[in-house]
């Protein structure tokens, strides 16, 4: 495999990682807002759980990504 090909694969994973962070931040902004509005304590586990839920949700809506 050429260095260019390897660099392309690394960049693809870089794009994926940056977009996962983007979605995580988006979920957390909503979660923090809810915490502030309803005086709920912020929990890192719940933020991860919400993020996982959003990712699973996006696997099937607006379309099933596996078909």
């Amino acid at each position: 495999m050429s260095i260019n090909a390897l660099g392309t694969i690394i960049r693809i994973f870089g794009i994926f990682f940056s977009l996962l962070i983007f979605w995580y931040i988006l979920v957390n902004i909503s979660y923090i807002l809810i915490c502030v509005l309803f005086s709920i304590e912020f929990s890192f586990q719940i933020s991860l759980l919400l993020f996982s839920f959003i990712i699973i949700y996006r696997m099937f809506y607006p379309k099933n990504v596996f078909i």
Binding site: N4, F16, L20
Partner: protein, 190 residues
């Protein structure tokens, strides 16, 4: 050096990796707007790369190592041939997105050989930039619906209009990397 014929496809491992891992992953993490934003960045990078290359090298063909997700025969492309390919293939993707968005079937089979560059002409960058400006305007005003009707990519699976819009970014990105490889090789051969 004898290269494989156009339409020979990708090595199986690469094709399966893209089909089974990358395609589902991009469908989850991208949106129409993210794909458009990333595509704009790619086009701007390509514009800079080509404008910084002396004009006499734009049409010069040189053999490079095979880059990721690119067919063997494209290893001998010039920078202008890559731009021509992006313009031809992009035009086809544009039509596919538009037709699928109207929930109309596309009867004609998509063939890789049909989107290969034919001319290697001068000033390909202007044509390339004009096409992408039209495409950006089209996607900006697109209703961003997910079509039920799909059209199969010859190497992968059936794509709906949204999948094709992400493909447009991934395809341009892959070929931007090819342009970088060509420019690097051109500089080394000086």
């Amino acid at each position: 050096m004898k290269l494989a014929n156009p339409g020979a496809g990708l090595p199986n491992i690469e094709r399966l990796l893209i089909k089974n891992i990358l395609v589902p992953a991009v469908r989850i993490i991208f949106t129409w707007d993210i794909a458009l934003l990333y595509l704009k960045k790619e086009v701007s990078l390509i514009k800079k790369l080509v404008q910084n290359l002396p004009k006499e090298l734009h049409q010069k063909q040189i053999i490079i190592d095979r880059t990721f997700a690119i067919e063997e025969d494209t290893r001998q492309f010039s920078v202008n041939m890559v731009l021509e390919h992006l313009t031809i293939a992009g035009g086809l993707v544009y039509k596919v997105i538009d037709t699928l968005s109207k929930e109309k079937e596309i009867q004609r089979e998509i063939k890789i050989e049909a989107v290969k560059p034919k001319e290697n002409k001068q000033n390909q960058l202007d044509e390339f930039l004009n096409f992408y400006e039209n495409y950006f305007a089209y996607i900006k005003n697109h209703p961003k619906n997910q079509s039920k009707i799909k059209k199969k990519h010859p190497w992968f699976i059936e794509f709906n209009n949204y999948d094709w819009s992400i493909f447009m970014f991934m395809h341009t990105f892959i070929h931007r990397r090819q342009i970088e490889a060509i420019i690097k090789k051109l500089k080394e051969s000086k």
